[in-house]
Amino acid sequence: MFTLFGIGFAAPWLLLALAALPILWILLRAVPPAPIRRRFPGVALLLGLEDDETQTDKTPWWLLLLRMLAVAAMIIGFAGPVLNPQDQRAGDGDLLVLMDGTWADARDWTRRVERVDALLDEAIRNGRRVAIVQLTDLPPDGELPFQAADAWGNRLASFAPRPFLPDQEALAAWPEQWNADGFDVFWLSDGLDWTGREDLLAALEGYGEVTVFENPRALVGLRPAEFEDGDVVVRATRSRTAGATEMQLVARGLDPNGVERQLTAADLVFAEGEAEASVALNLPPELRNRITRFELAGIRSAGAVTMTDDALRRREVALVSGRDDREGLELLSPTHYLEQALEPTADLIGGDMQDILLANPDVIVLADVAKVSEAEVEPLLEWLDAGGMLLRFAGAKLAASDVSRAEEDPLMPVRLRAGGRTIGGAMSWGEPKALRGFSETSPFYGLAIPEDVRVTSQVMAQPDPTLAERVIASLADGTPLVTRKRVGQGQVVLFHVTANAEWSTLPLSGLFVQMLERLAVSTRPAQPTAEDLEGTVWVPDAVLDGFGVVRDAGALPGVAGEDLATGRPNAAMPPGLYTGEDRRIAVNVIGAETELVATAWPASIPVEGLAVLRETALKGWLLAAALALLAVDVLASLWLGGRLRRVGSSALGGVLALALLPTLSEAQSADDLALLATAEVVLAHVITGDQRVDDVAFAGLRGLSDTLWQRTSIEPANPLSVNLETDELAFFPFLYWPVTTEQPVPSDLAYAKLNRYLRGGGMILFDTRDADIARFGQASPNGRKLQQLARPLDIPALEPLPEDHVLTRTFYLLQDFPGRHNSRDVWVEAAPPDAELVEGMPFRNLNDNVTPVVIGGNDWAAAWATDETGRVMFPVGRGFAGERQRELANRFGVNLMMHVLTGNYKSDQVHVPALLDRLGN
């Protein structure tokens, strides 16, 4: 292929035509644009006028240039130019394309697929058979699947990187299964030197030529996060140490709303020559406990993600003690030893029960608290159901109370006998008791019991059929020391002794701390040993794919604890979070000790980069450019000839205007509405679609606005019409909604908006405008429509406006609420049933909210309506009585707006006598 400036030409001889361009120039230059013939009576006046210049009969140079460019583009285009012409890769015979397919491939997977695609293209051209094999997903029979190259094109998309390294054993056995004569190998390496790679290379070299493609950039992986000195330390490692790099570490987890989001971020800096980088995050416990994984921002790979498990979580423990702390007697405090034991490993919170439950701690410790108040039992049980752990300690109070005596208290694991017992005291026969060894079913099984632990007092469990299974620790004489009961997903544990050293020496011993650990009250050591995990089965909760995306584990089978202990993910155990009985363990692609070692290929193996230089045929572009230039030439010629003047400009302007107008006006309208509605108080009505009704509603609000301006300190701006579907409602304190039978029912979205509006303190005045012919209810078409409209709305129970409602006295004292019609049927939110009239008070004591709706049919807008000049638009009633009615209608409007804007402060006046009374004293 003939190549010029890196551009190859399929038909280079066509370029000779470029030589003809100068001739074309001269030809075109000689021919002026064709004239227009025009009928024009005024020609008589033109006779004898000469043109100023004679130059203009030549085509202007820029037009010539335009045409030249167009022709040149066409000539070059037809010559078939190709950018980055590729020389063919020679070779025939079978071809094996190996992809490592590990997590390290994921960061540039698309480039790899492209590379393979390019190799396939070549193979198609050369008619070679191809087999593509992913090393992390070897073909089940071990055979090399050689096929025609074009058969692989569609299947390429089904390859995906796996979040683990190739299985060494399978890989070692693989070359023995081949049944092929000889083939060339293209190996797309992930750049990591894992065991087995050299053996495979040796095997491959026996069959043919091996070419390696590799991304020379360093691989970065994230080690599991650890807990050190109160900080979360995250380490990253990389395969090549050259160069300083800065990366962003992102911690992700659920926010309080249950939405996964970035919780915090930090910079991770690799120094020049260093393979490790670390960053310490000092996070508030609440935030830290929410973190589910760390990621390196911008790298799509399972190696750049590390999931966190319980090892990172510091459990929140709430301590509640029943006794008032005695000043200065710190060591007697019921929670002192607990605090000492838990401080290093858990976050302690205090406060009253309500606050504690809000914080949703992992454990609540009740140290000698006998009674939990009625109101707290329910939320406490809910919290238990959801997995909480209630740890109770006995004490004098518990022993003295009758909690869980006759029947089992839901917050106690067992029933208690009255009084408890004291052993080994001055007045008793027995010796203080030691502990009996823990049974196999006990969570404490295996803990060594110090000799000096003695129990002198305890509360006694009532013998029950269920008692035996609930005892997890007992004294040497078999009386229960620790009992446990499961409640939902949570549990209630009772230590039958006090949490301080009053009843036993248990809190003084190391056993106490270990017991707390075993009960998962405090954090345990980070990584369990294989022995710990032996015989257990762990169920995957969430797993990572090769790209580092967290996926639901679905129905993946459980994993044996021994496998989990190796910490090395494989096909059966993808990295992820595994849940066991009472804790969770994360399996990450990169462990705490994993080294990322870059590959070192023998010098005999050619190593290429991944970059694909695609051939780009420029023909289409050049021809398109030529066409565009010719189109410009058409316009320019028309313009020169004076034919573009009217049609062109107006059409062009029209097109531009059409393109720009909607976006502009839309953007403007939303902002304008917000500004209009919020700059001042604005009354608004709902657009019903009936032009007449809308106009009256608007005029009515205008009249009401004027009235308010004149009489009160409310100074509203001009009212607005609101489209429920498109406009934001939150700006308006008040919506007038005239009901017509024809208006469309708002969409669900609009209803959601309306409900939000009502809950947010907005008020809607529904007006059926038919009080002259119908009473409130189903009787009229408008009434039925109103019920249809209001059904999805979040409207509380209603009642006819009571005589002492605050609406009757927010500004004027009113008992009638006429509009254009004079009906007494006005409905507002019902008063709470327990509102009672206090003796000697004019009003009931109603300190509730502003009523969210007022419903009536008096056609208030028509009574309020004024035109622009302030004249009333509709007659009301007859004569003076009518004017009186209009006045009352206006007063109702004023009262209503006062109610909307000031709430029920007038109601508060019922308290005035009491306040005065108190001030007087």
């Binding site: 644009p33 013939r37 024009f40 009576p41 005024g42 020609v43 006046l45 043109d51 004076g642």
Partner: protein, 291 residues
């Protein structure tokens, strides 16, 4: 409905809202033609004006015996002096008038005919006598004459590119209305105006132009052709000619104005883009020449 019927109907519609046109009659000693114009003085006419005591020299035949019998003196019955105006209307029928720059605009010929017809309707309703020059008949004052005018105005005739009035009958001291675009040779008009001035004919030069002829909104290489196709002018940059064209047009208008002023005629220029009603009002005022 025939074409002239339609033209007449449109013209009547246009003339409808105007009061009857009373052409101002100058004092013409010899104006003897009786018409419906009372001169507010005694003279020849049909309508009773006044009784006056007979004076010496009054012919006996002039004495109104019935009135005289009511008293002792003799009375003469005088009638109101009435005079009718003769108005000649010339509408340019040249091809240059058949031009409209926009399909929404009427051609100049259309507008000229409409105005001519409307003014004829007004004049005849007012009792004047009207003649269309192309008819070649003397001025008459009848509904039939209106029909004839309408017929003549609607006739399509083969005509020259640019027109000039050829007036055979020109009653002395009559009025004349020339409606044209005045784009042709002005010498012919000059000659006619001189003739008219000699005969004491007063009148109106009414120029009708298309908006495009005023604006000359052309550009680029253009060959301009007259409507009839007899004249042609080629230019390579029409835009450059605009200023000079407009200058020439203004010159021509000034010339017409001067010409009109010299013979005590009136001149105005009307554009087809403007309203026909206001054009007719002006024409009405010009012919009536109320003082």
């Amino acid at each position: 409905m025939t074409a002239h019927g339609a033209l007449r109907q449109r013209a009547e519609a246009l003339a409808g809202p105007l009061p009857d046109l009373l052409a101002e009659a100058e004092h013409l000693a010899q104006a003897v033609m009786l018409g419906a114009h009372g001169r507010r003085r005694a003279g020849m006419g049909d309508e009773f004006w006044q009784y006056r005591p007979a004076r010496a020299g009054d012919p006996v035949r002039a004495i109104d015996w019935r009135r005289s019998a009511k008293s002792d003196a003799h009375f003469v019955r005088e009638k109101e002096w009435q005079a009718a105006q003769a108005v000649l209307v010339w509408v340019d029928e040249a091809q240059s008038m058949n031009f409209a720059s926009d399909k929404n605009l009427p051609t100049k010929a259309d507008r000229a005919r409409l105005l001519a017809m409307a003014i004829s309707v007004l004049l005849i309703r007012g009792g004047e006598r009207v003649a269309l020059v192309s008819l070649g008949t003397p001025p008459r004052s009848s509904q039939l004459q209106l029909l004839r005018i309408a017929q003549a105005l609607s006739d399509e005739t083969e005509a020259a590119d640019y027109g000039a009035p050829v007036i055979r009958i020109m009653p002395p001291h009559s009025r004349a209305v020339f409606v044209s675009d005045f784009l042709g040779d002005l010498a012919a008009f000059e000659e006619q105006l001189t003739r008219a001035a000699d005969r004491g004919v007063k009148g109106v030069l009414y120029q009708v132009l298309d908006p495009q002829e005023e604006a000359f909104p052309f550009d680029g290489r253009t060959i301009f052709q007259s409507v009839g196709g007899t004249l042609e002018h080629e230019t390579l940059k029409a835009g450059d000619l605009r200023a000079r064209y407009l200058e020439r047009l203004a010159e021509r208008k000034a010339r017409l104005q001067d010409l009109a002023r010299a013979v005590d005629w009136q001149y105005t220029c009307h554009h087809t883009g403007g309203s026909a009603q206001s054009a007719l009002l002006w024409l009405y005022g010009a012919i009536e020449r109320r003082r």
